[in-house]
Amino acid sequence: MQGDKTNVAFVAQNEKPALPAPVTTTGPMGWVMANLFSSPLNVLLTLIAGFMLVYSLPDLYQWAIAKAVWSASSYDECRSLSPDGACWAVVSERAGQFTYGFYPEHLRWRPNLAFLLLLVAIAPVLYKLPYRSALLAFTAIYPLIAYLLIWGGLFGFEFVPSDKMGGFLLTMIIGCTGISFSLPIGVMLALGRNSNMIFIKTICVGFIEFIRGVPLITLLFVASTLLNYFLPKGWDFDLILRVLIMVTLFASAYMAEVIRGGLAALPRGQYEAADALGLNYFQSMRLIILPQALKISIPGIVNTFIGLFKDTTLVSIIGLFDPLGIIQPILADPNWNGLVVELYVFVAAFFFIFCFAMSRYSMYLEGKLSTGDHR
């Protein structure tokens, strides 16, 4: 036993290198195991979903891309080129109408410029940029600039009547106006509803409950038809303006309730602390209450925005040519009669892109503002 060197107990000099984790818990395999096959039910669901994808995707690809026709002047021409592919030609042929409605072609740079300036105007609101206060001043006057560019009629800009506007231009006009005006009005309504002053409180509650109790489409009908009965004949109160007012009022009422939710979620102590600091009502709201309440309400606010943006398609029912409304006269054109799916898919894609972007931005904002909540 004594000379048996091999029998000396092994002493580890350093740590044993760690074995790689089992393949089933890391890497792509681990992701698949954790997310797709973690329980019998998930295995079943994964298999069903996978089967449906394999079953439908190739056909969808064939229809939407491989066999699709991108340029033709009529539905018949599409069919003769490719009998069972999508006919995207209608979208490219009518791209102008989809984008601007009937806005005069030689003036289309004006809405284009308005759109570019819109990006400039919302950038400082969405992100922290250098020279923010100067940019925000631009944002504040942007509505006037946009009005001047789109409608014109002043400073040598040719006037374009509202009935020439349609397509995505109309969606953007209604959506952006509704979104940017409903937030401040909504904040005021929410504060008014929480107010101790009985008169203001009654007005706000009455307004909110009335608007919430009525479907948007009813308000649009009031805007498009009933108002005409009350206004004297010959008073041409612009239809788009009427719709803008109704959509903004509608969104404001919902916004007010979302923000009231944020206000109610704040602990009582925050209000008392603000009072204890000797701040007056407006100071305490601006510095203490609203920043916190709005942060809590972000998901709800963005949710209302997305809903509002999609609700703009309701104006097609009162005969405005938003992207959904303009499909009707295109379908009635004998050249394109019989084509349906392509147009709706196109409009759906447009709305998806915008709404998805809004939803991602809201997630980014929540992440950015919730730093204080991580401990």
Partner: protein, 340 residues
């Protein structure tokens, strides 16, 4: 500030209301404005659609242009207001438009209850049925137990129920909202039968991949006289709408076309034609229009037959035969009142 603006605005509005109670006639309004306001459909194949230049075109649209040519001498001076089935009547009765030309069926209640005046019938339509040939049906009376695609909230829905009840048959409705939806359902064989106005059936069938495999059954189960209408109470304006339609029909009967109207105004010898074209008499002026307004109308849009052929006729994709809409001399129902 706000307290002072509101009462001032209210007083202003009331003042306007008071001022407009003594309003001018529609004709004077249109002339003053230099623009005819005309309501059309948001889109119906052949009747009203928008081409790739953004121009309105179609059968209903051409009638609006004819009225504009009569009143203002220029068929382009029209502001079209697209209306849906739900907004059309309020648009007219509220005065937002001067004229509604939107394949509207002339019925008692619309004429009397809603206080409109129909200017006449521009298109005689009727509700029909379309079935696939493979169904082996030759007559609507064999449709007992069929599933029927039907647009909700239209007169066709009530007509269908009446027809099946009168013939002791049963059916299963597949309610749809729009024509395009009905077409999809019908082609996907979600229903055996598709029913709507016969012109609409023909227009839909023309767009099928295999139109020959579908037939329109011979039974027409309802009367759908479609025509333009104006508000009650302004007889002069109603007369203008009525006689614009009449002269379009009369011009076809007398063989006056877009191409030869100017020539005929100068050289025609028939007193009827000379009266119609304003070469003789003062008939145009009596209605408050230029004496040669008929020349302007025909020059702008052509006669009834030309409008029909251009938008709905057998050479178009819609491919409708004149049928009931032929001149009375050809066995149809078009019979313009004498122009004298």
């Amino acid at each position: 500030m706000a307290q002072k603006i509101l009462p001032a605005a209210l007083v202003g509005i009331l003042g306007m209301v008071a001022a407009t109670t003594t309003q001018a006639s529609t004709l004077e309004d249109v002339k003053a404005r230099g623009m005819l306001h005309c309501a059309v459909s948001t889109g119906l194949a052949g009747f009203s659609f928008i081409d790739d230049k953004g121009e309105y075109r179609g059968f209903d649209v051409d009638y609006c242009r004819a009225v504009a040519a009569a009143v203002l001498g220029d068929p382009t001076k029209v502001k079209f207001t697209p209306t849906t089935g739900k907004t059309r009547f309020t648009a007219l009765s509220s005065g937002e438009v001067d004229l509604l030309s939107r394949n509207t069926t002339w019925t008692f209640s619309r004429d009397v209850d809603l206080k409109f005046s129909f200017a006449g019938v521009s298109y005689y339509d009727g509700q029909g049925f379309m079935v696939p040939k493979s169904l082996g049906v030759e007559s609507a009376l064999e449709l007992d137990g069929a599933t029927v695609c039907i647009q909700t909230g239209t007169t066709t829905e009530a007509n269908l129920a009446d027809y099946f009840r009168a013939n002791n048959m049963s059916y299963e409705p597949v309610p749809v909202e729009k024509n395009s939806e009905a077409r999809q359902n019908y082609l996907a064989e979600a229903c055996d039968v598709y029913t709507t106005d016969a012109s609409g059936l023909a227009a839909s069938r023309a767009t099928f991949d295999k139109p020959d495999e579908h037939i329109i059954l011979p039974e027409i189960i309802s009367k759908e006289p479609l025509g333009p209408l104006v508000n009650q109470g302004d007889e002069q304006w109603a007369d203008i709408a009525r006689w614009t339609l009449n002269v379009l029909v009369e011009a076809e009967e007398k063989g006056i076309t877009q191409a030869n109207v100017e020539e005929m105004a100068k050289t025609a010898t028939s007193p009827e034609i000379r009266r119609l074209l304003g070469a003789e008499g003062e008939l145009g002026s009596k209605i408050g229009l230029p004496n040669d307004y008929v020349v302007q109308v025909i020059k702008a849009t052509g006669n009834y037959g030309e409008i029909f052929a251009r938008n709905l006729g057998e050479d178009t994709k819609i491919g409708l035969a004149r049928g009931l809409n032929a001149q009375w001399t050809d066995g149809g129902l078009l019979y313009a009142q004498p122009y004298r």
